[in-house]
Subunit: 213 residues, 2 copies
């Protein structure tokens, strides 16, 4: 489903092109297959909802809502509880990567709710590898910006272990789900999204920074 | 000044590694040499200040302050004036790239104020190429996250043309300054920064997403 678009520039005029490869922007298309949110702020797990209103700062009332948040174990470089920017107000999984992870764990399937995910999409291969800065624009007008790959953690592993009665999954999950764990990001343009809605992922120019030797 | 750190993972366990090269994270160091902000909300140009308090959402009272902003000519995919996320509350230039741009334009120097920049740094080669997701952590504790390369525009070109009495610069600037235009980003951890302060740039893992053929 790749639709390469004209690059703004090629490596020839890109400055230190020998060290920093530059790939043109392109777009991909896919479909939203589920929307989920938290119910209880003390529980990271989400539950499916018919549609999801995306506001500035994320999903109002959701555990991860807010332009800022308190730092935790994922940001060991800050004292715990420091108020920092919140680029993880939305989390996205792909149906394909969920199936791949389930197969690797020997499970019949995996529920995005156990991950605490907000959106499940299909149709984009290797979703977890979409680069930072990708804009996912839903057909209804809402959009999100991808901030990073999500990292697998034992908390999700434990939720899956409990739900499937497979205690070994708690430890295995972080390793098995590595780079299959979807994306984190924040709302770019507010709006409501619902399962069945199509989207276009605008993959920006990509390059690799290499410091001079 | 590159200090390669242990990669979390090599391409061997990185999934679709043939299509998506993965580079380990590393860090660079540099120094902040100037801090600037807008004075008049109707004028995009900035002026030097002794120190700059960085808050959630940017620089309070500055023209670009806010977790959200109204879309404009840089976002032709939204109706003008749509409220969207604001990943450009801070702009950063490098002293080296300013000098390179000045030389290419045949000018003795360029003032970051004409760009409307907030921070000028030195010591990081090819600053404009730092990848999205780089965290710039200042010695005093404040930090910012890099959202994108900035794009040169005719508005800056006109400001330089006026200040230098070189009308030809208005049109030449966007071409000459391409990929020398610094970075945009937002505050990660609030705090005050001042010229002379050192920083560490934490360059994250980098990869290139290539859709399956």
């Amino acid at each position: 489903m790749a639709d390469a678009t004209k690059a703004e520039a090629g490596p020839a005029d890109a400055g230190p092109a020998d060290a920093m490869m530059l790939k043109p922007a392109f777009r991909l298309t896919g479909r939203l297959v589920a929307t989920l949110r938290t119910a209880d702020p003390a529980d990271f797990r989400t539950h499916a909802v018919e549609s999801l209103p995306l506001a500035g700062g994320g999903i109002e009332g959701d555990r991860h809502f807010g332009f800022t948040r308190r730092s935790g174990g994922r940001e060991p470089w800050y004292p715990r509880g420091t108020e920092i920017a919140n680029p993880r107000s939305l989390t996205v999984l792909s149906a394909e990567e969920l199936a791949e992870t389930a197969a690797a764990l020997g499970l019949p399937g995996l529920d995005a709710a156990w991950y605490g995910a907000n959106l499940v999409v299909e149709g984009v291969a290797n979703l977890s590898w979409l680069p930072r800065g990708t804009r996912i624009a839903f057909a209804g007008g809402a959009s999100m910006l991808v901030c990073d790959q999500n990292a697998p953690c034992r908390i999700t592993g434990r939720a899956i272990a409990e739900a499937t009665d497979r205690p070994d999954v708690e430890l295995a999950f972080p390793r098995v789900a590595r780079r299959l764990r979807g994306l984190i990001g924040w709302v770019d343009r507010p709006g409501t999204v619902a399962a069945g809605e199509g989207f276009t992922a605008f993959v920006p120019e990509q390059w690799v920074y290499a410091p001079p030797r």
